[in-house]
Each structure stands twice: as structure tokens, then as C-alpha cells.
């Protein structure tokens, strides 16, 4: 069935996919505790010869442009058609599908784009079989770089474990990266905090709303992962060794912790919105108070000046010797009385 028209959800996410590469890159790592082979391959025909007992093979596919080749891999490894379709539909929710001979895990990678000052969401899918892992990324990312380094280290624990442990390290790398992304958001929030006090303006409002929107998107992207890892942690699939389950439990707790942190950030952003609104309001009130004071202090004296600007013939004050200073005095008196009144009312 056509799924191309499911773009709405993705547009909703507002995640631009500009820097997508032109070509799908397939990299291949095959290792056991004694040796490690690594290469970039063009043609999946090469792939099958690596499939042998006793090693773990990790095929990483960057970019989903080369649909044909990817479908070939699917057939090579006997993957269900719907799974391959899910790989291409990049607007999926995180999910876990357990099949007889492999597990399909789909989740989101978050990266913080420093130039655009925003969080980018990328879909990562992973097929975990006995002795092999296939990962699909929308774009070339460097989140798995650390795992590769660990793999190259002959003494690292990964080298002695199976594909299920490699899957754990990969998911763990992604989840750890979530916290780094969140740290960037935390810094933006701190900046806003400072600017809120110094100079609340409508640009801050936009930044706050942008952050709020991003937090919603992040939460929606990560929330279902909770269930995915929650199920993985108690999985009885033959692809996952029982000793590895405790590591998935560990990731599970990190996901919960991340969700907690996102919710704390959301609360903080809401709080900042409240502070912004009340500080704008306060400022407006200050301006209004100033107007009130100026206006009410000058209104009565201006009225008096108006009276003595009248041209009646019979106005005895006009002829008084000290009429003018007297009137000025009365005016000053009224102004002073008003100021005292304001002071007493704590309006000043």
C-alpha cells in the first residue's frame, strides 16, 4: 500500500531534511573477540559472504535514497516487507516488532543543530538478528562513532558479546545523546532566564514558544520509546540473551530519566512564559502609573490656570497685589498634597 502520502505527520514535526545526502552509504563491520573487519561496500552482493558463524556483523546504512539496494538487503536477510516499508516511512513512532528470527526496533535520534539553534529529529531503525545487526539512518550522523571506537579496541566488552549487546550499546549511545541535546536546551533556557530579568521583549516570547514546541516534539518522539525499551527489557526473544536484559533495564531507566527531565524543562519553560507575561504586564503598569501621576498632578493646576485666564470684567483676584504668587502657591500645594496621597497609597 502507498505510504508516500503520510507526510502530514512529518510536516507536523517540521523537521527539515535539507542536508540529506545524495547517496546511500553502506558500511560493514564484522568482528569477534579476536579480529575485526571493517569496510564500506557498494553492493549488497558482497554482504552475504560475511555471514558466517562465530562473528557479529553490523551493517550500517546511511541515507535511504537507494531504495532498491536496501530492499535487496531486506530479502537477503529475509525481512518482512512491512518492516522495510517502515524503514522508509520516516514519520513512524518508535516501535518494537518481534519476529521469529529477528527483532525490529525503530526509534528517533535527536541532534542539536547549532547553526539553526534547533533540535533535529531523525529516524533510526535497527534489525537485530542472531549474529547480525542492520541499522538504517536517514542521514549521516556521528552518534555511533563512539561505539565504533569501542569496537576497534580489542579489549572492550563489546568484542566478547553478541549482537544483542551491540544493539544495547547503539541504543545507549542514542539515548545518551538525548541528554547532550537536552543540555543545549538547558543552556538556551538559562540564557532566557537572564534576558527575562534584563529586558523582556517579544523576541524572548518567540524563543520561549519555539522551545515549548520543541519540547512537545521531543516528548512525542521519545515517549513511545519508553514502552519499546520497557518491552525489550522483558523480552523473551531468542535474539536477546538473558544476561543482556539487565542492560536494557538500564537504558529503560535512562529513558524514564530523560522523560522526567523533559517534563521538568517543560514546567520551567511554562514558568518562564508566566514570568515574561507578568513582567510585560508590570512594565505596562509602571508606565500607566507614571501617566496617572503626571496627569493627575497637573490636571487641577491647569484647571486653576484656566480659571485665571478667563476674561470676566469683574474678577477681583486680578487686581490683588499678590494674586499671582498666591495662585502659584495654591497650585504647588495641590501638587504636593497629591504626591503625599500617592505616597501613602504606595502608588509611588
Amino acid at each position: 500500500m502507498p505510504k508516500n502520502n503520510k507526510k502530514a505527520g512529518k510536516n507536523g514535526n517540521n523537521v527539515s531534511v535539507e542536508n540529506e545526502m545524495d547517496k546511500t552509504i553502506i558500511s560493514f563491520i564484522d568482528y569477534n573477540d579476536k579480529k575485526l573487519e571493517e569496510k564500506v561496500i557498494d553492493n549488497i552482493g558482497d554482504c552475504s559472504k560475511f555471514k558466517r558463524k562465530g562473528t557479529v556483523s553490523w551493517i550500517n546504512i546511511n541515507g535511504l535514497e537507494n531504495r532498491k539496494e536496501i530492499e535487496k538487503i531486506g530479502k537477503n536477510f529475509n525481512i518482512h516487507d512491512l518492516v522495510i516499508e517502515d524503514v522508509f516511512d520516516t514519520s513512524q513512532r518508535p516501535k518494537l516488532d518481534e519476529f521469529d528470527s529477528y527483532i525490529f526496533i525503530l526509534f528517533k535520534m535527536l541532534t542539536y543543530n547549532n547553526k539553526k539553534k534547533k533540535i533535529e529529529i531523525e529516524q533510526v531503525s535497527m534489525i537485530v538478528g542472531e549474529g547480525y545487526i542492520i541499522t538504517f539512518q536517514e542521514r549521516k550522523g556521528d552518534v555511533f562513532g563512539d561505539v565504533r571506537k569501542h569496537l576497534e579496541n580489542e579489549k572492550s566488552k563489546i568484542r566478547t558479546q553478541g549482537a544483542d549487546y551491540l544493539a544495547y550499546t547503539l541504543i545507549d549511545a542514542v539515548v545518551n545523546h538525548y541528554f547532550i541535546v537536552l543540555e543545549n536546551v538547558g543552556e538556551e533556557i538559562d540564557k532566557i532566564e537572564d534576558r527575562l530579568i534584563l529586558n523582556p521583549n517579544s523576541r524572548i516570547l518567540k524563543t520561549i514558544h519555539k522551545l515549548k514546541k520543541e519540547m512537545i516534539l521531543v516528548l512525542k518522539s521519545v515517549w513511545p520509546l519508553r514502552e519499546v525499551i520497557g518491552n525489550l527489557r522483558i523480552s523473551s526473544s531468542p535474539c536477546i540473551n538473558k544476561n543482556t536484559l539487565i542492560y536494557y533495564r538500564d537504558i529503560y531507566e535512562h529513558v524514564l530519566q530523560f522523560i522526567d527531565a523533559v517534563e521538568i524543562y517543560r514546567d520551567m519553560i511554562s514558568g518562564q512564559l508566566d514570568i515574561y507575561l507578568s513582567s510585560v504586564n508590570n512594565r505596562m503598569n509602571d508606565i500607566m502609573k507614571f501617566l496617572t501621576i503626571i496627569a493627575t498632578i497637573f490636571i487641577p493646576p491647569t484647571f486653576i490656570a484656566g480659571i485665571y485666564g478667563m476674561n470676566f470684567r469683574y474678577m477681583p483676584e486680578y487686581h490683588w497685589r499678590f494674586g499671582y504668587p498666591l495662585v502659584l502657591g495654591v497650585m504647588a500645594l495641590i501638587a504636593v498634597v497629591m504626591l503625599i496621597y500617592f505616597k501613602k497609597k504606595k502608588w509611588l
Copy 2:
């Protein structure tokens, strides 16, 4: 029992049903992997002769006006009276009823009316038996058109599968259409986003409220579908082949994804409402600030002018040589001091 008086719920949905056709159209498709027969029938008497082993029959009924004929179909296929009543009561929630020899699925179709710029909700019911499907639509729609084309293609997968797979493709077509409808809403939201910055007016407010209301209606229409498909995906009905269940699981995830997207849109619309309100507020504040500045700058000089408009006989300033320019200078000074004060207070 009479259900005609259950219109309230439907009015609540505010979905107009003007373009309803005058006549119920019954179309009929009968196929297996080798041949396909398709025709529009008037009389359900014709129908029974298509019922034979080895093919899948799909009876599609557009329009519910011809109640008698539809009830005849119900009896023909041995459908429970309550099910037929549910077909006619177009204000139902999505639901799944499993009977011994068939499954009754009721759900909502969303279409975006481009002229009226609004989402229309139509009820679709489906009876899935062994070897046959009956679908009921309120109005003539073209959502099933793609499925028909697929059917006509001899090599398509549907031709080799049973009625349960046809049911999947039909539901999938409807759910995929949800995302297209959502895309239209997404475009409206984008338009509002632009207009919010350029010129926030009360027309935007109405559009935002309209969208908000529509999102509520959409959510209410689709939310129970989550449970319906959720149950279908683990159904043990004899009408559904176990190999087809994985496809229903696929739809289930699309429904979840759709609900997520709707909720993201709702959050975005709420955010826009907040932006609208604060931008209207900002504008008002700008106007008030301007008034304040003009008023407070002119009030003291006006008062001074008032003083020197008084007619006291003994006002020595009147006779000063440079009284007039002096007073003008004082006035200018006061205005400048005030402007500086405003600047310092960041009110300007």
C-alpha cells in the same frame, strides 16, 4: 428501538450532509487471482448468485437512503438487526463487533472540503465475512478508488488474498487519507503562522478557534478507532487469517501516529492562540505607551502655557524682554528631560 432521535450527537459534530445523493448506489466486485467481475446492481436479488466458493465478493453501498434494500442485504447475509441499525445511525463512535460468522467494523472517514475549507466526517461501516465484504458509505466518496485500481491489476497482492486482506487495504486507504486531510490542516496552520506575524486580527482568532474545534472533532472521531484496530490486531475471529494480523498491527501504528500528529497540531494551535493573544496585547501596549509619552510630554508645557495665559495684573514675567523665549525654552527643556527619562526606563 427508535434511534432517529439520536441526532444530537451528530449536530454536535456539526457536519453538514447536504450533498447527500438521492439514490443508493450498490456496486459489486467479485474476484479471485484469475478473474474479476465488477458491476453496479439495482436489485439485491442479483447478489446471491455471486456468492460462491473460491472468490472474494465486495459489495459497496453508497448512500443510506434505500433502507429497504439495505435491510434485504442484511437478511441475505444473515446480519444481526442491531448491526443494520448501527449502519443507519451515522452518529456512532468507531466500534468493532465480532460475531460468529462475520466481523462488524464501524469507523469514520475524514475528507477535507476545499470549498468550505473544513473537514467533513463521514461514517463507514464494514461487514467482513468469509469470502465477502460489505461496505456502507454515507455519501459517494473516492477514497476506495485506489483500492479498486489495485484490484483491477491482476498481479497485485490483493487478488491472491482473502476478504480479510481486502478489509485491511480498505481501512488502510481510509487511514492514509486521514494524513492527507491533516496535511491540509497543516497548511492552514502554516498560513496562520505567517499572518500572525504580519497582521493579527480577529479573523485569525476565528480561524484558530475553528481549527481547534475541528481538531477536537477529528480526535473524538478517530480516538476510539485506536481500540478498534487494537482489538482487531489480536483478533481470533475465524474471518481473519493469522497472516493478515501483522497488517492490522501496521494500521494500528498508523492510527497511533495520526493521533500523535493531531495532538501535536492541537498543541501548535494552542500555541498560536497564545501568540495571537500576546501580540494583540503587545500592540495595545504599544498604543498605550505612545499615548503616555505624548500626553506626559505635553501636559507640563501646556500647564505652563496656561499659567502665562492668566490675566493677573501683577505678573512681572509679562514685561520681561525675553520672557516668551525663556518660557518656550523651559517647555522644551521639560520635554527633553522627560524623553531622556523614558529612554532610561526603556519605555521608548
Copy 3:
């Protein structure tokens, strides 16, 4: 235990019970598929003689004043004391109590009082035994009228079914009436919608708040019914035939649908409140803008007029030939400049 002091909950509901009748009316219908006997009885002693095999007896009690007689019925049919107490305590939540030989169902009837323009909530209790039903209503209502007519029709399905089916038709009549009540609310909402655009005033605010309160009361009255019917639909009580369960499932869906509709109405009412508030605000802003424009346009010219009202001896402009028109021209110029400025700022 005394329950007379549990009126608080009822007052909370704010439902007046003025038109309560002075006398309890006990009506009695006894029927099977062949004959139907109907009469109004004074004394419950008459009642027992109708208890015979092969017919369904429906005792309907309107008004709870005659406590003694009702308690006698309770003993006659061997009803638990607490059930009878529940019948009299008209502030109960809907509930289902299954006993060995009967089922006790308590729910709320909604009626729309057209004169007072408000929804009235009345408690209805129902005891369903094998071969008999006893219904208790607070006041004389006509919701069961339709059921009575159906009963009198010899060919109606009810005549061939047991007491459990009669119970279904009675509950269904009440639930169907919910939708009629909701339709009245829908009309009120539509009226408000129109008035909100034409003339938002504080009377609308009160109507909106009244509707909001009513929707809360309706929801609280009907919400527990969801669970009641939900349990009834899977009941294993001997009083309910398994073939009847599907009808209760039908009511269950109507209750869900009703709750959905009420929630949509609540959302719509909230939306109207928002629209009201922002339209009041808009209006206020329009007034303030008008003040600002008038004031700021006239303040500078008035100041200039003040200057040339000063009485300094040496003011050369006084003696200019075209001093007066020049000053008028300057004033006009300032006003025009300001208007252009306002226009540019889109404040006009």
C-alpha cells in the same frame, strides 16, 4: 442508618424538586405474547396475585412519598433493606447491584425544562427479577410512554421477550432521551454563537457559565452509568438472558457516544467563553484606541493654542499679518502627520 442528612450532594446538584406530586401512583402492567393487563393500583396487596408463571409484570411507581407502601412492595418481592433505602435517597450515583434473585439498577433521567430553560435530573431505580420489573421514579415522567405503546402493540418484539428485554427497552428509552436533552443544549449553544458575534454582553457570560455548570452536572450524572452498563453487558446474572446481552452492549455504546458528545459540548462552551472574553477585550481595545487617537491628535494643537494664549508683551507672532492662519496650518499639519503615523503603524 439515617440517610436523610445526605441532602448536600443533592443541593450541590441544584436540582429543584418542586413539582413533585402529592401522591405516589403505582401502575401495573402484566403481559405475555398473547395478552396484556394494565391497571393503576392503590394497594400493593393486589399486586401479589399478578405474580404467576409465564408473564412479565412491570410495576412502575411514580413519586416516592408513600414510603410505607413502597417498603411493603420491597418485602413482597424480598428486596434487601439497603436497596429500598437507596431508592429513597435520590442523590445516589448510578450503580448496579447484583443479588441472587434480582438485579438493582439505579440511574439518572435527564429532562429539559423548557420553561426554566434548564436540565432537570431525576433518579430512576429499577429492580429486575425473573419475570418482573419494578421501576421507581421521583416524579411522573413521560419517558416510558413510548415503551408502553410498544407493549400495547401485540406484534412488538417486547411481548415475546422476558423482563430483561423490557429492562433494556426502558433503559434505552432513558438513554435515547439523553440525546434529546442534549439537542436542546445544542440549540442554546447555537443561539449563543450568533449573539456572541452580534453583541457580546454579560448576560451571555451568565448563560455560558450556566451551560458549563449544567454540562458538569450531566457528566457527573451519566459518567458512572458507563461502568454500570459496562458491567451489565457482561453480566452473568440468571436474571439476564445471554441473548439480551448484545442489546446492553448497544446501550453501552450509546452511553459512550453521549459522554463523547457532552465532552465535545464542553469544549465548545469553553471555546465560546474564550471567544466572549477576547471579543470583550477587543471592544475595549477599540475604545482605547479611539481615545488614544483623539487625545494624541488634539494634545499638541491644544498646547500650541495655549502658547498663543499667553499674555507676554513681547511675542512677535501676535503682530504677524498671517500669524493666525499660519498657526492653524501648523496645527492641521501636526494632526495629519499623526494620522499618517497611526496609519503606518496599523493602529487605525
Copy 4:
């Protein structure tokens, strides 16, 4: 472990405990269907001799000052240390602990202090064993007075039942008293309703906030009781007769009903807060509108008067015969035009 420092929760409740008595009063009632003994005892040594087969003993302890004596009772009846500690820690949540030979029930008593116009929350604990009940109250209360009267009546049902039924009547008395307290709140809400229309001031605001806070405290105090009674109603403890369970089910429904009523009140109070805020706002708007009208009507005429107060030599109007009345006419005209404009705009 020390629990003295758990006062924070209690302070949070803001419940003053001033009128606590100086001395713990222990009253003792021992009864069966034939006789009843009642006395106030000083020393718990007396207590044991009442422990005999065939009667129900109710020890009621008013005031928790005499810790030693109460601990002695605990030992006498073989009560767990933690239970006795819970009795003294008056900031507990309602809870149910089932032990082998007794049940410990802890809940809150609400009383409405008419002088202080506020709800007071008191902790009541109850130990229900076979043949005996021990109740602990913080202060001397009269809620159990009714139960005592019932006990003294030889024909009352309590006299023929066991300790579990007495426990039911005591809890029922407390729960019934909840509704009386709520009635007082209802009266306060009605008073506010009236005053909101006549004269909204900030004192009402405080009353509304006080009620809101009280409703939160009440809800928090009663909410866990739902679970307590919910568990009690399906208890399999030997201390509770199966025939009594139906009475606990009855209380359970009252608790649900009470919680519903409290939530309705909370919604009503929130609604009143909204009405208050919008009526304050309306009033302010009325004042501002009045200012606007006065100001804008007088600003242009005042400006005209200013113009004709200028002292230019060449102002031909000064010498016109009807200059003065003409100008007055123009002023009046402007004012009238403005009034018509306001009227048309519905600002008046």
C-alpha cells in the same frame, strides 16, 4: 523510629488543634442483645474484665494526651507497635491494615466550625477485633452520639450484630457527617453567588480562595478513604462477617458520591472565580469607557476654546457679531456627532 518530626504534613493541612482537651477520656460500652453496660473508666486495668464471650465491647478514647495509658491498651489487646504509633501521628492518610486478629482503620472526621467558618479535620482510628472495637479520637466530638443512642435502644439492629456492624455504623456516621459539612460549604457558596452579582470586591476573592483551599484539603483527606472502604468491602478478614460486607459497599458508594459532590463544588468555585474576575474586569471597562466618552467629547471643544483664547491681532472671528454663539454651536455639534458615533459603535 521517631515520628514527632512529621508535623510538616499537618501544618500543611493548616488544621489548628487548639481546643484539644487536657485529659484523655476513656469511655466504655459493653453490650449484647439483652443488656448494655456503659461507663467512663480511668484505668485500663478495669478494661480486661469486660472482655468476655458473647458481648461486643466498644472502648472510645477521646484525646491522645495520655500516651502511656493508650499504649497499655495496645498491649492489653495485643496490638502491633506501629499501629499505636499511627494512632498518635495525627497527620496520617486514611488507611486500612488487616492483621490476623484485628483490622486497623484510620480515617478523617470533618467538622464545620461555625465560629471560625471553616472546616476542621480530625483523625479517627479504629481497631476492629472479634467482639471488640477501640476508637481513638483527637478531640471530644459528638459525631458518635447518634450511634450511642441507637445502642441504648434495645430493639435497634446494632444490638443483635457483632463488632463489625458497630464499626460500620460508626464509619457511616462519620461519612454521613461529611455531607452535613458539605452542606455548610454549599451555603457559603450560595452566599457568594448572591454577593458576586451585587458587589464584587476583594473580600469575596479571599472567601473564594479559602473555599478552594478547603476543598483541596477535604479531597485529600477523603480521597484515600475510597480505597480503604473499597478494600474493606471485599475484605476476607475473619473480623468481618460476610453479611456485613454489603453495608460496607453501601458506605463505599457514599464515599464516591461525596467525592463527586466535592468535585462539583470545586468546579462551581472555579466558575465563581471566573465570574468574579470577569465582573471586576467589566466594571473596570465601564469606568474606562466613561472616561473615554467624557474625555473624547470634551477634547475637541476644549481645543476650539483654546484657539479662540489666542491673542493674535488679526483674528477676524473675534469681531464677528455672532462669533461667540457660532463657536458654541460648533462645539455642541461636535459633541453630538461624537455621541452619535459612540452610540452607533455600541460603546454607550
Copy 5:
């Protein structure tokens, strides 16, 4: 896997860790009912010799700087690597991990920093094995001081119980301390209450927002503890004696009670925010009303004064004998009429 980069969550918590000590201090207590040995040890090599049957050993580690030594302890007691990693990752959520030979409990300690007037959150982890407990604290705290004193008392109950009871007393000490911290918050809230009435200013607003944020952090820190203790209370681990479970049930109720209290505080803080906002608003309204009254009272008389400042030749009033007092009288009359109008409208 590296967890160092999981600081984001911690920054999110905004808990400063300045006063962290330079050195990890390991203290050691070994006791049974007859003797107690206590010392501070440098080297974990010493540790193993205390491991013997018949005593309970409590190793308390203050400060996590000495990672190597702590890892050595882990190996010594055969603790899983992930557990040791969790000990160092101080941004964990409270959690319970049951292993075959020990239980790992991780929770948060709250302390109120009196100088900075804020709540500090510290992570405490605890390994409970048979006959030994290891506790890890981020900083040197004195919350366990009471427990130590109890231990030193030969007659205290702890001395006769196992490690599981010691674990209970330690957790209980922490949970009891929660209430003390809350008491400090309660005092701050009381202070705000007073200041809100006397002088609402923006500093109060900041304090309220700070408290709000703190309550969120506290809730997030303690909320998962509910589940942790909830599971502990029904644990079937061999490390926990069945008789001790009732004590964990006791803590469980304290945690629920604490969460209730925090939520009440949150509601109170929200209420205060509302009061603050409406009191600021009220004040502003008072100022605006004052402006309105002054302005509207003086506007008409000022206009009249303007009229009689005009220089028309033919203005008969100028020559009236009592023109001046008459005009003054008219002005006074207008002012009085206005004041009466305001009074009647209750604007004064």
C-alpha cells in the same frame, strides 16, 4: 558505556554541588545485640575481615571522589558493574533492583540549605545484602546521625534485628527528613501569605516561582520512590525478612503522605500566584479609577474655563456683574453631580 555525559538531567535539576568534599570518607560499623565496633577506614582491604557470621556490617561511604576504592568495594562484595555505575551517576531516578544475593536501592535525600534558602537534592544509594549494608552519599550529611545514636544504644531494637531492619531505619530517617524540609517550605509559604496582603511586589513573584520550581523538583525526586518502596514492601527477596515488610509498608504510607503534602503545597502556591496577580491587578485598577475620577471631574470645568478665556468681542457674560461667581458655581455643580454619579455607580 560512558555515562559522564548524562549531566543534562542534573543541570536540569539545578542542584549545585559546590561543598563536595575533597576526599571520600569510609566509615564502618559492625554490631550485634552484644557488641558494636565503629571505625573510619582508609583502605577497603580492612573491610573483608569484618565480614563474619552473626553480625551486621554497615559501610557508609561519604563522597564519590575515590572511584577506585569504591569499585574495589563493589568487587569485594560481588556487586554488578551496572550498580556501581549507577552509584556514580548522581542524576538517577529512585529505583529498586533486586539481585540474587543483594538489593540495590537508590533514592534522593532532601536537605534545606538555610543560607541559600533552597532545597538541595542529594543521591543516596544503598546495597542491602544478608548481614551487611553499604550506603553511598554524595556529600557528608548528618541525616544518618540519629540512626548511629540508636545503634550505640545497646537496648535499641535495631541491635537485635538484621540488615534489612537497619535499611528500614536508614530509609525512614531520610523520609522523615523530607517532612522537615517541607516544614521549611511551609514557613516560606506562610511568610509569603503575610507579605501578599501587606505589599505585593515583583520580588514575591520571584519567590513564588522559585518555590513552584522547587516543588516540581521535589516531586520528581520523590515520586518514583513511591513505586520503589511499594515494591520493597511486597518484596520476596531473601535479603528481607517477612517480619520487616510491615515496616516498609509504614514507610510507603509516609511517602504517600509526603507526596500528598507536596501536592497540597503546590496547590497553595498556585493559589498564592493567583492572589498575587489579582492583587496587582486590583491595585492597578484602583490607580486607574483615581485617574478617571480626577480627569473626568476636571475636564468639563476646564472646558468652561477655556470658553471664558476666549477673546470674542461680543460675549455678554463678560460684562455680567456676577458672571465670574456664576461660572465658578456652575463648575462646582458639575463636579458635585459627577461625584454623586460615581458614588451611585459604586465606582468610588
